[in-house]
Symmetry: C2
Subunit: 335 residues, 2 copies
């Protein structure tokens, strides 16, 4: 790696991010097994999930949320999709000198509110301040701990996945990415699209309590649905087939994607996840999801099937195309 | 707080940091009790300590360590001084576009090495990349989890402290701060002083296993000994008296402090802690500390005594002065 440097694409959540993590971090840190969002650990015979994320979203305030709400939701969701019940959150701020205290209070208030909403406790924190120009307004790290019933440790690894399992999503794609783009002052379009930023743990708790056939879950953040499905296809013995006609995308998001040249499959979300389930439980899961505002747009989008480790999209016009792992520079600082 | 902004002093670890945390964060997040470095929590009847810190040290590489080693040692020490045995660490990177991959590998290598040294596992992580000029090279957050014997939960609160308890330090003050200052290219002095950056958990484990009378511990980072003693005096019913002649400071550090106008009591350390013990165990603790390279410079520096919540220094020349909580701008980005 002589003379190579870190590029924005290393932070995009796609192929380059994975390569960096595998080459530089996972090997040195001895992290074996799949690189899931949460580590699954044992503390005195209690299985826990443990996760961390730093948030550098630009802008700090955006339609549907702010960096503080995002930092709580994101860590709650990383724990929830591993099957865990999130209980404790840590919060660490890196703040640029000159950042308005009112804005900091607004952000802290959003975090407190979202923590109450998600029923997690913010229990420890840290504050650093750097000189003007040495960070971009404010960055927030949250880490989180959740407890995991011993019977659910397969959810983050996907090891129980079988051919024929159904893939279900809880709602339309792309809203977070387009809300952020619309809020960036350098871009000349405005939109009424709101970020979907939300804590999914209560919704996920409902399906966990009511369905025995949950084989995998993952939230659809950086890199979008395309990244998650490609990671999944790499983890398991099978390929994946999804149907474009069943993938929910709001009308305005679809229009903006066409105008701007984005594919909703690759856009970041902050309140969406996929769940892979035994096909016998497909209808039950859809019903439970649809009974909750955060799952009202739920849809069964495809299934586990072919044995080629590829993600195949059946297109609206009746063709098929391979959905690759996102590669290169996507939208920087979307979360 | 209308029109007020965040200032560098809010990140200094002194009075302004405490005010910011108390006013903005602790109240909103519902964190009650003393603002210790680690939260003490229960997970299924197992007491755990949980902590987080973001590291923004400038420069990233300095004599005696780098930001990666510091990020592991700092979180290990926060857990260890609460009485916990550190077991798991999370690592989250915010990297500036263009940062050399070689440097990132060096940092990751130091983290891995220090984790082995401290016997903690790095189990989960995150990587974000921001555009050139939007952060200063690299910032690292680490959070950590440690297990805590039920009988040791008093150590971080200091609630068992009594008048007459002895205050012991494991070595000389100020090396980390002066190593960082010396490494900053804008400063025109050079020094052979090395940062004292080290994981203290094994040393602390020795005294915990051998002494029953440990009433409080804290590491001496931002704000130095002065900040910790003032926090302690605020937490307990007593004041504190320390003797300047017993406070260890290396010759070169003392000389630089005199030249530069610093007081070693206020300088940051990254491998120093105080322990407050029953006076009957003073000698035993000193003996154990001195038998370990990280405690070779141990010294008994004072005691818990007067009832005025103040920190009093008996000076070398026979006078007395009050050691205040550090206030205003100290050395930014020392950790």
């Amino acid at each position: 790696m002589m003379n190579e440097v870190v590029r924005l694409s290393h932070g995009s959540g796609g192929r380059q991010t994975h390569e960096l993590i595998k080459k530089v971090f996972a090997s040195k840190f001895g992290i074996d097994g799949p690189l899931t969002d949460s580590a699954i650990l044992e503390i005195n015979n209690q299985t826990v999930a443990y996760t961390t994320d730093s948030y550098v979203v630009n802008p700090v305030f955006f339609p549907g949320g702010n960096i503080g709400k995002l930092a709580v939701c994101g860590t709650v969701n990383d724990l929830a999709v591993s099957g865990a019940e999130p209980i404790f959150i840590s919060v660490s701020f890196i703040i640029e000198e000159g950042f308005p205290l009112n804005d900091l209070e607004t952000i802290a208030h959003s975090m407190a509110e979202e923590a109450v909403n998600a029923n997690v406790r913010i229990v420890t924190g840290d504050t650093k301040v750097v000189e003007r120009g040495k960070c971009d307004r404010i960055f927030i790290n949250t880490s989180g701990i959740g407890t995991l019933p011993a019977g659910l440790t397969h959810i983050s690894t996907g090891k129980n996945i079988n051919a024929g399992d159904k893939i279900i999503i809880n709602g339309p794609l792309g809203n977070h990415a387009l809300a952020i783009l619309g809020a960036r002052s350098e871009l000349s379009f405005s939109t009424s699209v709101l970020s979907d930023c939300a804590s999914l743990n209560h919704l996920i708790g409902k399906i966990i309590r009511n369905c025995k056939g949950i084989h995998f879950m993952r939230d659809l953040t950086r890199g979008g649905l395309a990244a998650v499905l490609n990671e999944l296809a790499e983890m398991i013995q099978y390929g994946i087939i999804i149907d474009e006609q069943n993938i929910p995308v709001e009308e305005e998001v679809r229009g903006l994607c066409e105008t701007l040249g984005f594919d909703p499959l690759y856009l970041a979300n902050e309140g969406k996840f996929i769940v892979v389930v035994d096909r016998d439980e497909e209808n039950k899961i859809i019903e439970i999801l649809k009974s909750d505002p955060l799952g009202a747009g739920a849809s069964s989008i495809g299934e586990i099937g072919v044995e080629n480790h590829k993600v195949i999209l059946n297109t609206l016009v009746g063709g098929r195309r391979i959905i690759d792992m996102p590669s290169g520079l996507m939208l920087p600082r979307i979360c």
